[in-house]
């Protein structure tokens, strides 16, 4: 055997012994009673909602029930893999030894610690949709079936929320393997460590947006406040009034000053119907009007006619009723901006 490694051989022997003991100790998987009870509870809630005519609640219960059923099916499949079956591969120390050697070719860093009873590999940097999550250490412990796998971010990149995530599918060093569950269980059970670590790495390299703890945009840190979609830094706009971030579709531009503003911080001038930010609305006596400065300063045809006969005071002295119709109640007391806004 070329480059025979004594320490690796010892570890392979230990691993085989532990896996055989594990199989002998629990030849049959347990049944997922709690998940089945959860389905019963959801069905009862659905009946309750239907009986009271709560259609939205009933629909939500039904969707949740379907989701839980899907989880149960996946879990049962995984448990079936743990059940005794005809094994195509005989679990031998030689096979495990070759798998451990194969890992050295597949991963840049592999550590086999017989004292700690762990095999650790380090992945390349995990990039998901241009988000760099850094490298991960995959640590598998033999002889510890209840807590055998940990996936640890070497350079943790955490979203703003939830903060205990290091990857859309990793929470508190635990990887939710999803579609890889059955193949992974089968691989570990058979002692095919090479396959198991490959499967784990490929899960880390795959983003499943439909069933992630958190969407990837939480790592980019930019979320459109208008539509809640992710938005890149280059394509995002910051509202000059409220400071929140918006995507191009949800941001507007003030026709008066040209600043980017969101819909909430802008309105249409009630005269010319151009979009103006709150700062570019005309201000009279500390009160903001619903018209832009330009429309405010432009006399109406009636006023022009009046001008020919008498000197008409500016709008603040207009009839109170018509004047109040142009006054908005928000931003009362804000200081008027310089005329440069127009």
């Amino acid at each position: 055997m070329p480059n025979w490694d004594r320490a690796r051989w010892d570890a392979a022997q230990q691993i085989v012994k532990a896996l055989l003991a594990e199989q002998a100790a629990s030849p049959f998987p347990t049944f997922p009673d709690s998940q089945i009870q959860a389905l019963h509870r959801l069905r009862q809630r659905w009946h309750y909602a239907v009986a009271r005519g709560w259609q939205v609640a009933a629909a939500t219960m039904q969707n949740t029930w379907n989701l839980h059923l899907e989880w149960l099916i996946n879990d049962l499949k995984a448990r079936r893999c743990r059940a005794p079956s005809r094994a195509a591969i005989t679990l031998t120390a030689a096979q495990v030894y070759r798998d451990l050697a194969g890992l050295q070719d597949e991963f840049e860093f592999v550590d086999i610690d017989s004292r700690a009873r762990t095999v650790t590999v380090r992945t390349d940097r995990i990039m998901l949709d241009d988000v760099d999550l850094g490298p991960f250490a995959i640590v598998w412990s033999w002889g510890n079936p209840d807590d055998s796998l940990r996936v640890i971010a070497e350079e943790p990149q955490r979203p703003d929320y939830p903060e205990d995530l290091t990857h859309p599918h990793v929470r508190e060093d635990e990887l939710c393997v999803g579609d890889g569950q059955a193949a992974l269980d089968q691989a570990f059970r058979s002692g095919r460590l090479f396959d198991a670590f490959l499967i784990l790495r490929q899960i880390l390299k795959t983003y499943n947006p439909h069933s992630a703890y958190a969407s990837l945009w939480r790592w980019t840190g930019r979320v459109c406040r208008g539509c809640a979609g992710s938005v890149s830094e280059d394509e995002s706009w910051s509202c000059e009034t409220c400071g929140e971030v918006f995507c191009g579709d949800c941001s507007q531009c003030c026709d008066a000053c040209g600043d980017p503003v969101c819909q909430g911080c802008s309105s249409l001038c009630s005269d010319c119907e151009t979009r103006i930010c709150s700062r570019c609305r005309a201000v009279v006596d500390g009160r903001r009007l619903s018209v832009c400065q330009a429309c405010y300063e432009t006399p109406t045809p009636d006023e022009e006619a009046d001008d020919e006969t008498q000197e008409t005071p500016l709008r603040p002295d207009k009839d109170d009723a018509s004047f109040e119709a142009h006054v908005l109640t928000d931003h009362v007391g804000e200081a008027a901006l310089p005329a440069g806004c127009g």
Partner: protein, 76 residues
């Protein structure tokens, strides 16, 4: 010749197969996998390989999807 074929897609199928002498990796893939080879990591005896490689008696062929979707765990 007899090889060990492991498909890590789905349930993790593993079994011995009897193949005609001269069977290539590509031919085996076409027989056993529905999909494109570029969507899988194909290893022969734990080493990367090419489609034209001719399989040998006793080879161990592993096919692993490049994309395996993780998921949120079930709340029990």
């Amino acid at each position: 010749m007899r090889i060990l074929f492991i498909n890590n897609d789905g349930g993790g199928f593993a079994d011995h197969l009897d193949l005609a002498d001269g069977t290539t990796v590509q031919q085996l893939f076409d027989q056993k996998v529905k999909g494109r080879p570029q969507d899988y990591l194909i290893r022969v005896n734990r080493q990367p390989t090419v489609g034209t490689a001719v399989l040998q008696d006793g080879d161990r062929v592993t096919i692993t999807p490049i994309k395996i979707e993780g998921a949120r765990s079930a709340v029990s």
